[in-house]
Symmetry: C2
Subunit: 151 residues, 2 copies
DNA sequence: CGCAAATGTGCATAATTATGCAGAGCGTGT
DNA sequence: ACACGCTCTGCATAATTATGCACATTTGCG
């Protein structure tokens, strides 16, 4: 039995993406779809993930919470190329560097994502400070960043 | 096994009201709450009602669809006293009489209710024409009207 | 680095929800 | 008034989802 934190993060991101594009009626389906893109998961984990993600089941399909809908996959696609890299500055602060003048838009995309581990962000011109509550939260954040912007 | 059409309407209205006020986690609870106010129903019926009403289950409680939230119970309370009565005018038209000058507000409350059997309404000064698709739909409408405004 | 506390998982299974069926109440047309 | 058809129900049960446990890893600390 594995406990790969990163795997969980990626799987949840995948779940959100899948639910955006398909009408999924049951967890078993979701498990199949996840397998198809390389994610290994059981109905148990999916059940827990869905609750954690605040996903709702309406009649015959799972629905993402309202806020999430606002964030189109393309949101990240657009700003992906602006991101130069990121590094931890202590256990609760992460500094992300971007192309000059694009920090604001990247920060906005990050805020819209609504990742729970993020307490707040401040964007300058080419730098974003991302505050997290703990080292653990920071790890989550980095998992997310890695998933969306590459290592 | 009974098939009291009116009972269904009233029960569904009750379900909506209950869900507005309480956080209900399972259908069995809902059955209990319904019993408490005199509605006789089984989990089977409740399951079907919830689907029909478009109710959604989020994590650990049932949630009403967004639109419904707008209509406060008090909405009907306010206009209840304006309604003088109503009669069918043919199988698909219902004429509702109100106090002079209040027809508009009553019609607005009706529209907000979003009852599926209602195709449209027109309000004059003290009269509202309510169009329904069929005799059957008209019966539904009358059930609703009876529930909210009395016989 | 070593140990205790957390976290995440799968498995097996309990808990909950959905549904096929058959019966009952009503409305409709003759 | 009678027959036919439709809708709504409950029951029994299938289908689906949630969760107690035990265990593998990881994280936090001294």
């Amino acid at each position: 039995m594995a406990a790969d934190l990163n795997a969980q993060t990626q799987r949840r991101d995948a779940i959100v993406r899948i639910l955006r594009q398909n009408a999924v009626a049951r967890q078993a389906e979701l498990v199949t779809l996840l397998h198809r893109e390389g994610h290994d998961a059981t109905q148990s984990s999916v059940s827990r993930d869905l609750r954690e993600l605040g996903v709702v089941k309406g009649g015959d399909r799972y629905l993402l919470p309202d806020g999430e809908d606002a964030l189109t996959p393309s949101h990240f696609e657009t700003v992906r190329s602006f991101v130069k890299g990121y590094r931890a500055a202590g256990p609760t602060l992460t500094v992300l560097r971007t192309s000059v003048g694009t920090a604001q838009s990247v920060a906005i995309a990050l805020d819209k994502a609504g990742w729970p581990e993020v307490i707040g962000t401040i964007a300058g011109d080419d730098t974003i400070f991302i505050a997290t509550e703990s080292a653990k939260a920071q790890r989550r954040l980095h998992d997310h960043l890695r998933t969306h912007f590459g290592r």
